[in-house]
Amino acid sequence: MVKARAADRIFFGLSFGSATLIIVILAAVALFLIIQAVPAIAANWKDTPSLAEGPTAGYDSFWTYVGPLVFGTLFASAIALVIGAPIAIGIALFISHYAPRRVAGVLGYLIDLLAAVPSIVFGLWGIIVIRPLLLPLSGFLNQNFGWIPLFGGQVSTVGSTILAGAVVLAVMILPIISSISREIFLQTPRLNEEAALALGATKWEMIRLAVLPYARSGVVSATLLGLGRALGETMAIALIISPSIIVSLRILTEGENSQTIAANIALNFQIADGLQRQALIGTGLMLFVISLAVNLVARFIVARTAPGASRKSGGKRRPPEGVTLPSATSALESTGRPATDTQHEGARA
């Protein structure tokens, strides 16, 4: 008995220690980035010789260096979101409400496979498939809509544009947005849906009346999580775009592409030295802060408006309202479905 108690205490200590270790790790991430970044942020860039050459040449201060990069990061992610979010929500609707029940699971798995493809592979794919694919479109947009700042400028002939990068980013954020949206669409109270159909609504009207209002906040936060993913994506942008550190709205040009923080670090980190590297770490700190903010806003929206705050109830239809279940624990019992799909979502959420 005594022995069992000792094992008990040790085991509790281990698991409690692991849990607190997570707090320590996250604190360490922030701390070490700050320690490394502060010298570069605080330095006077004009009078520091090592900052006046290499990737950081020609900037007055850290803030004039990081400013355009922050803009480029947000801009590329915004384009990716504009392209990707509607498609992702469409996919989620297709799988949750249109596809035949029997194949819906397989189709969902297919979309989740997109998340399994390494980002470097998407980057290479973007170089040889997306770049040429977009050339006719960018030529057309540039000729006919060149007066819109977005499409203006000297159109690229090889396609290393921010548009191509953003299209690849859009593909990469599809699975995260669509899997979370799908979960939430599936949680729509069955009775609401059937009531709408019984009143003679078409399928789309039912979705508009019953599903979308119910799922709105969830879809918004899914989109924000997708944005968080897009902000940090490095390789697709680094491989595809031919960048310059400027604030430019043009998305079809060769030399006037705004650079993103992550790609800038990836391209320059190995050739930078000492203080320059610290400057790059400083931009990384900015990226950390931005994506943290986006994620926090997303989580906040989920926490505030989630129906029953069932973040991980696992994508099965909830029982009709009025039947209250203790917690997510009941997801398995209530549906009797295998846990594997749930598991999947958990890894992505």
Binding site: L114, I120, I128, M235, T340, Q343
Partner: protein, 369 residues
């Protein structure tokens, strides 16, 4: 609609109209319309000799949507027309997601298959400079990258799997609901899933610069970076799996006087083990393809380096990246190596996913199938 009382009295003349389906377009109208649209647009583009596959598909889809809308609002009504158009749009969205997936896999396979053979996996690649003859010999090979990937990911898994599982056990089995440690940890795990991968790499680099000095590149440092990305994934999936274990089992065990430790190790974990292994597999598959953090923390090299604690280490994703971005003298050969590495990486990821799937299927609780 038009069947009146009179027509019921007299024997019907001509074909009987089915009142349930009148006022509706035929069943497979969508297929007819898309076929028509493809033909028309293709014909027009061929006549104007301005044919391109992308334009053809795009214009056909536009024509299809317009035609379907017009037909449906003429034969049916506006609500039906909207419904049909939305249905088509949703389906198109799905195709738009499948197309890149298929295209990516096909591209990688086609480009990489010629490169991928046993020699590629089993020889060290890179350019070797011979000081006597001044000749540079370039050999293809990814052995150093394969070894690096396996070591770095393996060490990352060894570090993060126990931490992840133990944290999940704490959250599910020990923590009281609403307790501040549990709430903080849950929140921070959420935050950790949002850390950009490159920031994890910068963190590892910063950490090791402070410990070992400026030349901090090492495989172990990359493992630390990957762990930062992997721990939250493992925690999340294990937490989910543990919560699925029915409370009845735990309570039955407690009622028999079994200690908490034994309950967890003998009852809860065996019940959830399939899901936990699946989650770990998927987490590994997820981080094995990470490029940016490894590139930051382990840098890249052509030399064979099997010691994870000192010196730069090559990995498959980084080989794919550097082969394209910083090619050697023989650009075509570098690019080919990049594709070979990418294909190898995809194959590893697919295998890991399949294993995860099989384990999940094979060990799923019997009653839940």
């Amino acid at each position: 609609m038009t069947t009146s009382v009179g027509s019921r009295l007299r024997p019907p003349q001509g074909p009987i109209t089915n009142t349930l389906t009148t006022g509706q377009l035929p069943k497979f109208i969508e297929l007819y319309v898309i076929a028509g649209a493809l033909l028309i647009v293709g014909g027009v583009m061929a006549l104007m000799s301005a044919f391109s596959v992308g334009g053809w598909v795009f214009l056909s889809v536009v024509l299809y949507l317009v035609a379907l809308g017009v037909l449906s609002s003429l034969a049916e009504n506006r609500r039906r027309a909207t419904d049909r158009i939305v249905r088509s749009l949703v389906f198109i969205a799905f195709l738009l997601a499948v197309a890149p997936l298929v295209s990516t896999l096909v591209t990688v396979t086609v480009k990489g298959i010629g490169q991928l053979n046993w020699a590629f996996i089993s020889t060290t690649g890179g350019s070797v400079f011979d000081p006597d003859t001044l000749a540079v010999t370039v050999s293809h090979g990814a052995l150093q990258a394969v070894v690096g990937t396996l070591e770095i990911t393996g060490i990352a898994a060894v570090m993060s799997v126990p931490i992840g599982i133990l944290t999940a056990i704490y959250l599910v089995e020990y923590a009281q609901a609403g307790q501040w440690v549990a709430r903080t940890v849950t929140f921070l795990v959420d935050v950790m899933t949002g850390i950009p991968s490159i920031v994890a790499g910068l963190f590892a680099f910063s950490l090791f610069t402070l410990i070992v000095g400026p030349k901090a590149f090492s495989g172990f440092s990359a493992s630390v970076a990957l762990s930062v990305l992997m721990i939250p994934i493992v925690v999340r999936s294990c937490e989910e799996m543990l919560r699925l274990v029915p409370h009845d089992l735990r309570e039955a065990s407690f009622a028999l006087g079994v200690s908490r430790f034994s309950t967890i190790t003998r009852i809860v974990l065996p019940t959830a083990i399939a899901g936990i292994i699946t989650g770990v597999m998927i987490a590994i598959a997820r981080v094995i393809g990470e490029t940016a953090p490894i590139f930051m923390a382990a840098s890249f090299t052509d030399n064979f380096n099997a010691n994870p604690f000192s010196g730069p280490m090559q990995t498959l994703p980084v080989l794919a990246y550097t082969g394209y971005k910083f090619p050697g003298q023989d650009i075509a050969a570098s690019n080919a190596s990049a594709w070979g590495a990418a294909l190898l990486l995809v194959i590893i990821v697919v295998i890991l996913n399949i294993i995860a799937r099989i384990i999940a299927k094979a060990f799923a609780p019997k009653g839940a199938r």
